[in-house]
C-alpha cells in the first residue's frame, strides 16, 4: 500500500528556487526512447523490397498511422505531420505497456509526461493554424460569434490541453492503482494478471490511440 505515493526525486536548489527532477520518470522515459531507437535500427537494418521480420511490424505502424493522418488532414499536410504522429503513437504505446514488466513504471503515470506532450500538440496545432489561415483570420475566429466571447473561447482552447493530458494520466494512474489495490486485497492470487492484461494492454493501447487521434484532430480543426 505504501507504494502509492512514493516518488524518487532529485531536488537541486538554484538561486532560491528548487528544481525538482522525478528520477523514476526520467529514467523510464529514457528506457522507452532507447527501446524505440533500437526498434528503429533493427527494423531498417536488413530492409528489402519484400519485407520480413521486424520490417513488417515497422511498416505496419508507419502505413496505418500515415493513412490515419491522411484521412484527417490532406495529402500535403500528411507528409509533414505523419512522422510526428507515428512517433507520438509509438512512444505512448511503449510508455503505457512498459509498466507490465516488474519494477518498471509507466512514464505516463506522472502528470508531467502527458502534460508536456499535450502542450506540444497544442502549440503544433496552433502553429499549423496560423500558417494555413494567416494570423488575421486566426485571431478573428476567437471573436465568434461576438467579440465578447473571446475570453471564453480562449479558455475553451486552453482546456483542451487539460482534457487531453488528464485523460491519459487519469486512465493510466487509475489502472495502476486498481491493479495495486486489488493485488493487495486478494494477496496477489489469480486476479492481478488479468487486471494487468486489461488495464495495461487494452486500456493502454486505446488511450495511446485516443491521444494520438486527438492531436491529429486538433491540428485538423485549426487548419480547416
Amino acid at each position: 500500500m505504501e507504494d502509492l505515493g512514493r516518488i524518487y526525486q532529485l531536488i537541486i536548489p538554484v538561486m532560491g528556487h528548487n528544481i525538482t527532477l522525478n528520477l523514476d520518470v526520467i529514467l523510464m522515459t529514457w528506457i522507452v526512447i532507447a527501446l524505440l531507437l533500437v526498434f528503429g535500427y533493427l527494423t531498417v537494418r536488413n530492409r528489402g523490397v519484400r519485407p520480413h521480420g521486424l520490417q513488417i511490424l515497422g511498416e505496419m505502424f508507419v502505413s496505418q498511422l500515415y493513412a490515419l493522418t491522411e484521412d484527417a488532414l490532406d495529402k500535403e499536410m500528411a507528409k509533414k505531420y505523419a512522422p510526428l504522429i507515428t512517433a507520438l503513437f509509438m512512444f505512448l504505446l511503449l510508455c503505457n505497456w512498459i509498466g507490465m514488466i516488474p519494477h518498471m513504471h509507466e512514464p505516463t503515470k506522472d502528470l508531467n509526461t502527458p502534460l508536456s506532450l499535450g502542450i506540444m500538440g497544442f502549440f503544433i496545432a496552433h502553429y499549423a493554424g496560423i500558417k494555413s489561415k494567416g494570423i488575421k483570420q486566426y485571431l478573428k475566429e476567437y471573436c465568434e460569434p461576438i467579440f465578447l466571447m473571446a475570453p471564453l473561447n480562449v479558455i475553451g482552447e486552453l482546456s483542451k490541453i487539460i482534457s487531453i493530458s488528464f485523460r491519459l494520466f487519469g486512465n493510466i494512474m487509475g489502472g495502476a492503482i486498481i491493479v495495486l489495490v486489488v493485488s493487495y486485497l486478494v494477496y496477489s492470487i489469480i486476479l492481478p494478471p488479468f487486471l494487468i492484461a486489461f488495464f495495461s494492454i487494452f486500456i493502454g493501447a486505446i488511450q495511446a490511440f485516443v491521444f494520438t487521434m486527438l492531436t491529429v484532430v486538433y491540428i485538423s480543426v485549426q487548419v480547416k
Binding site: L152, I155, V217
Partner: protein, 82 residues
C-alpha cells in the same frame, strides 16, 4: 468550536464549486455523446463523407461543451477568486 461567518462563506463557496462542476458536467457529457452516436449513424449510411461528418461533429460538440466550460470557469472562480 466557534464557527465564524467567513468560514461558513468559504465552505459554501467550495461546496458550490464542487456542485457547479459536478452537475454542470452531466448535460454536456450526454449531449456530446448523442452527437457522436448520430455521427456514427451518418457515417454508417454515407461512409465517403466521413471526414466532413467528423468535423461537423467536432464543431457541434465544441458548442455543446461550452456550458461545461462555463461550469469550469464558475467553479474555478468560486475556488480561487471569491
Amino acid at each position: 468550536m466557534a464557527v465564524e461567518g467567513a468560514d461558513i462563506i468559504k465552505a459554501a463557496a467550495f461546496l458550490g464549486a464542487g456542485l457547479a462542476m459536478g452537475l454542470g458536467a452531466i448535460g454536456p457529457g450526454v449531449g456530446e455523446g448523442m452527437a457522436a452516436a448520430k455521427t456514427c449513424e451518418a457515417i454508417g449510411k454515407n461512409p465517403q463523407e466521413a471526414g466532413l461528418l467528423t468535423r461537423t461533429m467536432l464543431v457541434g460538440q465544441a458548442v455543446s461543451e461550452s456550458t461545461g466550460i462555463y461550469s469550469l470557469v464558475i467553479a474555478l472562480l468560486l475556488l480561487f477568486v471569491v
